[in-house]
């Protein structure tokens, strides 16, 4: 089983990212929030030719950092790999990441954000849910670090209505079946004053997309 050199914590994935590079032919440049899911797919499918470089997941909160960081990573690693695939959706970059990838001859996963591709882009779009707040496995684990504390809700609970007054439901899109995470997600909904909905998505479009990348570089 391929693993990073040292065990990686969620805090490290949030702030530092992850590097799993033993020089396969393809490098995946991904959001740290997807690291565990991509590692699981790499190991389940025996993709020994796929390396992984994750950027800090906390860029979720500052999308303006995503495009320049991905650009720097592509420039740094492109000479070492036959191909690079970017495992970020648009993620609030307003189309800038797609333009960068097109300019640099690199492909990326389709969709507006991971909530969409986990559920399947087509199905997610069809739902047209305006008032749902989404959490994935990673974001449930990191709820306080990604939402509660940066939004100041630990210090100023009166801001809750200003932030989430227009939301109705917290949807937990589960990649794995984990009762502890489900209980935590339910508690997040309670703290936000939102209704709760559980949806098991598995890896959604992520699995098929990475499989296509892996297959295209076999042999």
């Amino acid at each position: 089983m391929r693993q990073p050199l040292k065990p990686v914590t969620d805090e490290q994935l949030s702030n530092e990212g992850l590097e799993l590079r033993d020089y396969g032919r393809v490098l995946l440049i991904a959001c740290g929030a997807l690291a565990r899911e991509i590692l699981a797919l790499i190991n389940a499918n025996g993709w020994t030719h796929m390396d992984l470089q994750c950027l800090p997941a906390i860029y979720h909160n500052e999308p303006s950092k995503i495009t320049p960081s991905v650009k720097a990573a592509i420039e740094k690693y492109q000479p070492e790999y036959a191909d690079i695939f970017v495992v970020y959706a648009d993620c609030g970059t307003g189309g800038q990441l797609k333009r960068l990838c097109d300019d640099m001859g690199v492909s990326m996963i389709a969709g507006p954000h991971c909530y969409s591709f986990y559920e399947g882009n087509t199905g997610f779009q069809a739902r047209e849910e305006l008032t749902c707040f989404y959490l994935t496995d990673f974001l449930v684990r990191q709820f306080d670090a990604f939402f509660w504390r940066p939004m100041g809700l630990d210090r100023h609970p009166q801001l809750l209505e200003m932030y989430f007054g227009n939301y109705t439901t917290l949807v937990y899109q589960a990649q794995t079946q984990d009762p502890l995470l489900e209980a935590k997600a339910q508690d997040c909904a309670r703290r936000m004053g939102l209704a709760y909905e559980y949806r098991f998505t598995g890896y959604g479009d992520l699995a098929g997309t990475l499989d296509a990348v892996a297959v295209s570089h076999l042999g």
Binding site: P63, D90, T93, G94, L130, M151, G152, L153, H156
Partner: protein, 235 residues
Amino acid sequence: MSDQEDDIILSELNDEDLVAQMFDDLYDGLKEEVEEGVNLLLGRDWAPYRVLTEALVGGMTIVGHDFRDGILFVPEVLLAANAMKGGMAILKPLLIATGAPRVGKIVIGTVKGDIHDIGKNLVGMMMEGAGFEVVDLGINNSVDAYLEAIEREGPDILGMSALLTTTMPYMKVVIDTLIEKGMRDDYTVLVGGAPLNEEFGKAIGADAYCRDAAVAVETAKEFMARKHNRMAANA
């Protein structure tokens, strides 16, 4: 805040010190203190418009600069905005009653498919503070809602906001409809929201992209000045 500051009695301060203290209270998001300060200044025969511009807008300008410079973050700005809102609630009826100067009129709303309104609300409040009449359409606005509002209200400016990559293209739908109906040149169109940028604003045919609430106010004022100059030149 220190104990020493807690002991400050606003009513004992002279006007200059009171306004300085109100700047601090706005910065710290202390709504009740800001409301008290507004009432004190009004009680000292300050015109409502003067209280608004010198005490509230002056204080929020500092908040805006420190947000832009990375000294303050969103939670602190929201607390400050909430404090200013408290002061504005006292002043608004008085401003209307006293016929305070009006810089222009703006219809503002978040686009269809989008429920995010923090940025839009901040812009609306700062615009009001700068002397604009603001008609807030709220969230999730269709083309029809925008058109109906601008035909009804006759604003100088249309402001559109979006937080999502998936909803921001809707701004172009609204602008294209204005063009189709031959109404585009009647209004200045300003757009804003986290995933937007200047390039996007140009691409969809907006007059300007506004990075934050302070920039939105300055841009709106600039376009109003241009409009007045054009009108003066054509007179």
